[in-house]
C-alpha cells in the first residue's frame, strides 16, 4: 500500500480547511437572502390547477385537515403536500421559515407573526382578493390580533379563550356551593380553600398550564394578570411591571396554592395532554382551560365528568384571554401565481371557500370540535348552537356564557405584537415555576422577567 506523503496530507488538510470555511460562508450568504418586496396590486383568484403547494401543521386532528385538503385538491386541481410537524412546533417553524423553506401555508399562534413579518419570512394578505370582506366579517379582536404593522398577515384558524374557567358541578354540589360561582380570582382562590376544607376534594383547583411546553405557564401568567387588570406591558411592549407590581402578590398566591396542596401534584411538569386528562378524571372543582376543550370534557368516551362541566359566567371580571391560531403564508420568493394559489388555500381553510362562498371548513371545525372561529357569523350561527346543544349541559344557560367569553375577550396585544415576545415567553415559562415551587422569591422572578424583557428590547429593538 502506498504511503500517504506529507505533501498529500497537507493538500488534503488544505482542502478540508477550505470546505470548513466555505460552508459557513455559504450559510452566511443564505442567511441574508433578499426577501420578496412587499406591496403590489390586489391579485385575482387564479384558474384551477397550477402550482403544487406545501402546507405544514401541528398534530391536531390531521385526518380532518387531510380531508379538507383533499376537498381542495379535488375542487381546484392544485396539489397540496400536507405535513405534520411533531414536537416543539413554534421553534421548528421559526427555523424552517428562517431557512427559506418553501412553505406555502402554515399554522401559527398569533404571538409569532410579528417577528416573522418583520423578518420578511411571511407574506401578508394585503393582495388577497377578499381581504376587505374577510376583515369586515372577523371578530374585531381577532382582526386586531392578525394585523401587524397595519397589514393583515393571516386568516384565522381558530379563535377562542385560553383560560376560560370551567367548573365541575359534581364537586361543587358536594361542597354545597353549586351555582355559587366566584367573580374574581381572589374569590376563586378563597372558594377552592373552602371546597378542600369541606372535604369535597383534595385538589380543588387545576391551574392554567403551569408547565413549560407551548409557553404554558406564561399564558397562565399573562391571562391572570390581564383579568386582574395588572399592567404588564405598555405601548411598544415596554415592561411596566417591577418588584412593586401587584403581579408579585399574584405569584405569591400561586405559591400558596401550590404549598397548601390545592393543586394536583406534578403540575409543573405536566405535558399538554395532562391538563385535560387530569380535569377529565374528576375531583377538580375549577380549572381555566382552552375553551374548545369543553367538548372533550362532555364526551363520555374521553371524560369521567361528562355532563358535569360548565363554563363559569363572567360577572365583572374576565376569565382568560384571546387565543388565536392563524394560517400564514411563507415567503420563499414565490411569484404572484403561487401566491394566489396560496391565498386560495388559506381562503378555503380560513374564510369562505371561493367556490361555495360559505364558511365550509371553519364551520366544520366549530361543529365537529367546538373550535370556534374568528368570524361572528360562524360562532353565533344557529347551526353551531344546535350542534353545541347536543353535548353542552343546560345549553340555555351555558351557551350564552360561552358566547360572552368570545364577545370581547382581553388580549395580550402589547406583548404579542413585539418581535421578541416569543423569546420572552420561553424565558418566562422556565422562570415562573421557580416562584411557584419556591426556588426563587416572587420578587426576584418578577425582577428577572423585567430584566429579560429589557435585554430583549436592546437586541430586537421592539
Amino acid at each position: 500500500m502506498s504511503q500517504l506523503s506529507r505533501r498529500r496530507l497537507l493538500r488534503a488538510a488544505g482542502l478540508t480547511a477550505l470546505a470548513f470555511g466555505a460552508g459557513p460562508g455559504l450559510a452566511a450568504c443564505a442567511g441574508s437572502q433578499v426577501r420578496t418586496p412587499r406591496g403590489g396590486p390586489p391579485l385575482s383568484a387564479p384558474a384551477t390547477g397550477g402550482a403544487s403547494l406545501n402546507m405544514r401543521i401541528w398534530g391536531a386532528y390531521p385526518d380532518f385537515v387531510g380531508g379538507a385538503v383533499k376537498d381542495f385538491e379535488r375542487t381546484y386541481g392544485t396539489k397540496v403536500d400536507l405535513g405534520v410537524i411533531a414536537g416543539d412546533y413554534p421553534s421548528l417553524m421559526t427555523n424552517l421559515l428562517r431557512q427559506n423553506t418553501p412553505l406555502d401555508m402554515v399554522y401559527s399562534l398569533w404571538h409569532m407573526p410579528q417577528a416573522y413579518y418583520e423578518a420578511g419570512w411571511i407574506r401578508d394578505f394585503e393582495r388577497f382578493w377578499a381581504k376587505e370582506d374577510a376583515k369586515r366579517e372577523m371578530v374585531p379582536a381577532v382582526r386586531e390580533a392578525l394585523t401587524v404593522n397595519g397589514s393583515l398577515i393571516g386568516l384565522p384558524y381558530f379563535a377562542f379563550v385560553n383560560g376560560a374557567l370551567f367548573a365541575n358541578t359534581d364537586v361543587l354540589r358536594k361542597a354545597n356551593l353549586e351555582g355559587d360561582y366566584p367573580k374574581t380570582y381572589d374569590e376563586l382562590y378563597a372558594q377552592v380553600r373552602l371546597i378542600k376544607k369541606r372535604g369535597a376534594t383534595d385538589t380543588p383547583y387545576l391551574p392554567s398550564f403551569w408547565s413549560a411546553p407551548w409557553f404554558g405557564i406564561t399564558f397562565g401568567f399573562l391571562q391572570e394578570a390581564l383579568n386582574r387588570n395588572i399592567p404588564l406591558f405598555g405601548d411598544g411592549g415596554l415592561p411596566v411591571f417591577d418588584e412593586q407590581s401587584a403581579v408579585v402578590d399574584m405569584l405569591r398566591q400561586w405559591r400558596d396554592l401550590y404549598n397548601e396542596g390545592l393543586v394536583p401534584k406534578g403540575v409543573l411538569t405536566f405535558q399538554e395532554s395532562d391538563w385535560t386528562e387530569t380535569f377529565a378524571k374528576g375531583g377538580v372543582a375549577y380549572s381555566p382551560q382552552l375553551q374548545y376543550d369543553l367538548k372533550t370534557f362532555a364526551d363520555p368516551a374521553t371524560s369521567q365528568v361528562a355532563g358535569k362541566i360548565v363554563p363559569v359566567p363572567q360577572q365583572g371580571q374576565h376569565w382568560g384571554m384571546l387565543h388565536v391560531g392563524a394560517y400564514l403564508i411563507g415567503d420563499h420568493g414565490q411569484g404572484d401565481d403561487v401566491l394566489a394559489q396560496s391565498y386560495r388555500l388559506a381562503q378555503h381553510f380560513g374564510y369562505r371557500d371561493q367556490r361555495t362562498g360559505e364558511f365550509d371548513v371553519p364551520m366544520a371545525w366549530a361543529k365537529n370540535y367546538y373550535m370556534t372561529q374568528g368570524y361572528t357569523e360562524v360562532n353565533n350561527s344557529p347551526e353551531l348552537a344546535e350542534s353545541v346543544a347536543k353535548w353542552l349541559p343546560d345549553p340555555e344557560t351555558n351557551l350564552p356564557v360561552l358566547r360572552d367569553y368570545l364577545t370581547n375577550p382581553q388580549a395580550a396585544t402589547s406583548l404579542f405584537h413585539t418581535t421578541w415576545g416569543p423569546t420572552w415567553m420561553n424565558f418566562a415559562s422556565h422562570e415562573l415555576p421557580k416562584a411557584v415551587n419556591g426556588d426563587e422569591d416572587a420578587k426576584t422572578v418578577v425582577k428577572n422577567l423585567r430584566t429579560k424583557a429589557e435585554s430583549l428590547i436592546d437586541v430586537y429593538g421592539h
Binding site: 470546505a19 416543539d88 411538569t269 405535558q271 415551587n437 437586541v459
Partner: protein, 320 residues
Amino acid sequence: MSTVTEPIAPARPPKARGAASARIPFSSRLSPTRFGFLLVAPVLLLLLAIVVYPVAYSLYLSFVHTNPLTGRQDFVGLKNFQSVFTDPAFWHSAWLTIYYVACVTVLAAAVSLGMALLLRERFIGRPVLMAVIVLPWSLSTYAAGVVWRYVFSPQYGLLAGIFEKLGLSPVDFLSQNTVLPSLAIVHAWQFAPLGAYFLLASLQVIPEDLYKLGKVDGMGILRRFTSITMPYVRLPLTIFLVLVGGQAATAFDLIYFLTSGGPGGASQTLTYDIYQQTFQDQSFGTGAATSWVLLVVLTAVTAGYYAMAMSSSRREKKVS
C-alpha cells in the same frame, strides 16, 4: 543472398494508449490507497455534510453575533464565550449536568453489573431473561419517555396507583428535588442492558477454576468478587462508563419528553440549555459557544479517564 526484411504488418492497428488501458479494470489501475479512499468517499462525504460541516459551522457561530431576525452576522471574538461563563444559568446547568451524569453512571454501572452477574449463572428461564432485559435498550427514547410518564405521573401513574393501594398519598417524582434522580433511573434503565451484555462477555471468559481455588484459599464472596471478577471486568466497565457518561452528559430527548427542563430549571442540563438558547431563544452565538464548552470538557474528561484506565490496566498486567 540478400535478405529483405519486410516490415511486418501489424496484426491489428495500434491502439490508442487509453484504449489499451481500458482493458485493465479501473480498480486495478488505482493504487490501493486511492482505491481505499474511493471506497470510503461516500461515507466521508456524508460525514462531512452531517458531522464536520455542522460542527465547523457551530464553531463559526460561536464567534459571531447573529441577529435573529435579519440574519446579519457580526464577528464578536470571544464575547459569546464570555457571556456563557458569566451567566449564572450556565453554571447552574453545568452543576445539574455533573449531578445527572454521576447519578446515571452509578445507577447504570450497578444495575448492569448486577444483571451480568445474574445472567452468568445457569438457571431455568435464563435465555428468556436474556432476551427480555434487552427490551429497554431497544425502545426509542420517545417510547421510553411515554412509558415512564405513565409510571411517574402522580395523577394516573403506576406508582401513584401502588401508593394509593397502600393507603399512601402519591409522590411527585418529577418535583424540583427528585427530578434528576428520577430521570437518571429512566436513563439507567434504558442503558443498563447494553452494559450487562458488555460485562457478561468478559465474565464468561473467567475460568471457573479461579473461583474454586479462591474458595479453597478461604476467600469470601466479596473477596472473590474484588480479586477475581473485578480485574476481568474493569476495562469493559470503564468503556461502558465512558459511553453511558458521555450519553448522559448529552442527554436531551428524555428530558424534553418528560420534563421540558422543568420544573422551572430543575432539569435544565447543558444540552437542554443549548437547545433552549439556540432554538427557542434564537441566541445562536451563546448556544454554539455553550455547545463547544461542553464538547471540549467532554473530550478532555473522556480522554483523561481512558488514559487513567489504560495505564492502571497496564500496571495490573505488569504486576500479574
